[in-house]
Symmetry: C2
Subunit: 142 residues, 2 copies
DNA sequence: CCGTATCCGATGAGATACTG
DNA sequence: CAGTATCTCATCGGATACGG
């Protein structure tokens, strides 16, 4: 088992170097973002916050995520203590995922992001359109 | 100019598909995260929030980011209306970056994330250690 | 049903060299 | 100083196939 992202040589540490950054605070933030800041983690946390408990395939359908990414991301979230996993050895087997207290606490800043997202997507969109339009207007010649 | 990520065929749209997700809310959140949710964007916003105005190389040194990623990320942030760029045609040239009002508003949820990050990195760390220890304990045989 | 293993294209990101 | 261009590699992520 190749341990998908366990130990990387200096200069490449899941996401970025930041080796010679002058800003130690940024390094720590970067470190946390490297752990729970990816898209799928955020979306899984949101889903679990909403529904309380979800089974593997329920999450899969809900998010439209591939089995592979769901499996990998859930394992990481469990490892980081944000998500609990409960296995029922029935036939067919059943596995339930839920937020731990740590996961619940993470849910709050995530929600803040989510709210901002909802409110400001239109602003971003119009900024883009304006930028792109102006860029077309003034090429080298013309 | 290959337009680094402008148009991708279905099944691959900067980050993820989410084509058949049952959850439309997740799709929107995913969309926003695809825009301003990457590590460098977040860290640049934090830096500008802290210092107000920064020049290109100042940001570069502060974050320990490569020229390439800084250039790309700043352009996206400017396009999305989060960052303003002011060019002074002096010799040598001088360019100043700062947050726009939209960028300032984004700074708040980002700060919430940052605070949570600072507070909970230790929790994540210990959860990891526990998880890894227990995993070693109970392999197939033993 | 709940995963894991493998294959493969797409994206992220540093290093380096060059221009105005 | 403030970038752009190119090269190279690591990681993300979907598709598929298989096992418990």
């Amino acid at each position: 088992m190749p341990q998908e992202g366990t130990f990387l040589r200096p200069g490449y540490k899941k996401g970025t170097t930041m080796a010679d950054a002058k800003c130690p605070e940024c390094q720590r933030i970067n470190e946390v973002l490297s752990r729970v800041g990816d898209r799928w983690s955020v979306l899984i946390v949101i889903s679990l916050a909403q529904y309380g408990v979800l089974r593997f395939n329920a999450l899969k359908r809900h998010l439209g995520i591939s089995q592979r990414m769901l499996s990998l991301t859930l394992r990481e979230l469990e490892r980081d203590g944000l998500v609990s996993r409960t296995y029922y050895p029935t036939i067919p087997p059943k596995v339930e995922y839920a937020l731990t207290p740590l996961g619940e606490s993470f849910q709050e800043p995530v929600k803040a992001m989510g709210l901002w997202a909802m409110d400001n997507l239109p602003n971003i969109d119009s900024a883009r359109i304006k930028y792109d339009t102006e860029a077309e207007q003034e090429p080298k010649s013309a």
